[in-house]
Symmetry: C2
Subunit: 228 residues, 2 copies
């Protein structure tokens, strides 16, 4: 399948590499290709320069947001939450029209220091903002409640015995996303409702960031425990 991955950080890279492994044709989108390639230092999270990563992942082609979105039958939104709407506007409504958009973003605001707060929450969510801004796209929020390595390979932790959630307005889009999640190795996907239900997983981030501090590892997730 042709998949456009928007964003070149650890989330975008993790998805792009995993999707190539799964046999998909992946194009990675960025705001400014030459600027992205000019970085030659590790980022604040310790990730190597994008150019090095691309050298090791030659099947991933780097293009502007618009070309990656146009390429994708499915588009993965892995842009930093703070710039997600702007990035999608650069991708272009005409390149997102009717497509399944997997939205992994979080509305994290680091401007007040650590731990971060959310720049939108409670009575709205970033998932909803994106759906309202691109009404003909089919937004499915998922995977925003765990670290990138677990997003694309949940079996790395307890053989996948933990959960992710999906929110979205379009049942067929959700079916497409659940299939991709299963290809990633997800065993437990819970559909929690329409795109407004994205408020729930986005508001998990404050406890997630606290737990990151306590556990000193990003390799954790929540398992929903209930009597079946």
């Amino acid at each position: 399948m042709r998949i456009g991955v928007l964003g070149t950080g650890i989330v975008g890279r993790s998805h792009a590499a995993r999707l190539v492994d799964l046999g998909h044709e992946v194009v990675m989108g960025t705001r400014d290709v030459s600027r992205s390639l000019s970085v030659n230092t590790v980022d604040y999270m310790g990730n190597p320069p994008l150019r090095e990563w691309l050298d090791r992942n030659p099947q991933v082609r780097l293009t502007p947001f618009s070309e990656a979105a146009k390429h994708g039958e499915i588009v993965i939104n892995a842009i930093n939450g703070m710039h997600a709407l702007e990035g999608l506007h650069l991708a272009g409504n005409e390149n997102l029209d009717g497509k399944v958009i997997i939205d992994i973003t979080n509305p994290l605001d680091f401007s007040r220091g650590m731990p971060p707060s959310l720049f939108i929450s409670n009575t709205d969510s970033l998932g909803e903002q994106i759906q309202r801004s691109f009404p003909s796209a089919r937004i499915v929020k998922t995977l925003n409640t765990m670290s990138a390595p677990l997003q694309v390979n949940p079996r790395l932790l307890m053989d996948g015995d933990h959960h992710t959630f999906i929110s979205g307005n379009d049942p067929e889009a959700k079916r497409v996303v659940v299939q991709l999640l299963e290809d990633y190795g997800w065993r437990n996907v819970i559909d929690i409702g329409d795109i407004a239900s994205a408020r729930g997983p986005e508001m998990v981030l404050p406890i997630w960031t606290r737990l990151l501090g306590v556990l000193k590892t990003p390799m954790f997730n929540f398992k929903l425990v209930y009597e079946r």
Copy 2:
């Protein structure tokens, strides 16, 4: 131990009954004793009138908030979140001074319909508001992320193989609370930090209410899955 339970809803009743079973001397506080006893219908959650419940739990004495708080070496705040601060003011600063206050409240706002939003979140929490309002009390936030039956008897679900969190500024108060939680049957208690970390578990409520709708049972909880 002498324990004051503030609040007569399902949360207060569950704690009061369980604490009596564990051998504690429990006094339950309410705003207006005669009004609480005059109710003779089931409430909106299907709970029987308080008078009937007290008849079946004769070791629990019903008093005004202030008397229950004065009685308690530990005070459990199980007041409806919307009225929690007002109820604690009625309990009286002098009756809370220096005491461990177990805060189970959630800032749920049902005024916009279902699912509820939060009337405080993100850059503040109800736990912090209470600590600020009663600086000489030792607030420990816990148990707000699961239903009342599971709060007091976690082994009812998967033999307790799931988690609760604690937040608070006073290490000794947290030790007291962890002991009580273990007496309830909790096996997994994670200290996530100072009282500001209460934002995390309070912001779990939006996904919790969505999951309640999906699972059609309140007998669920989250298990934190990580490599030890």
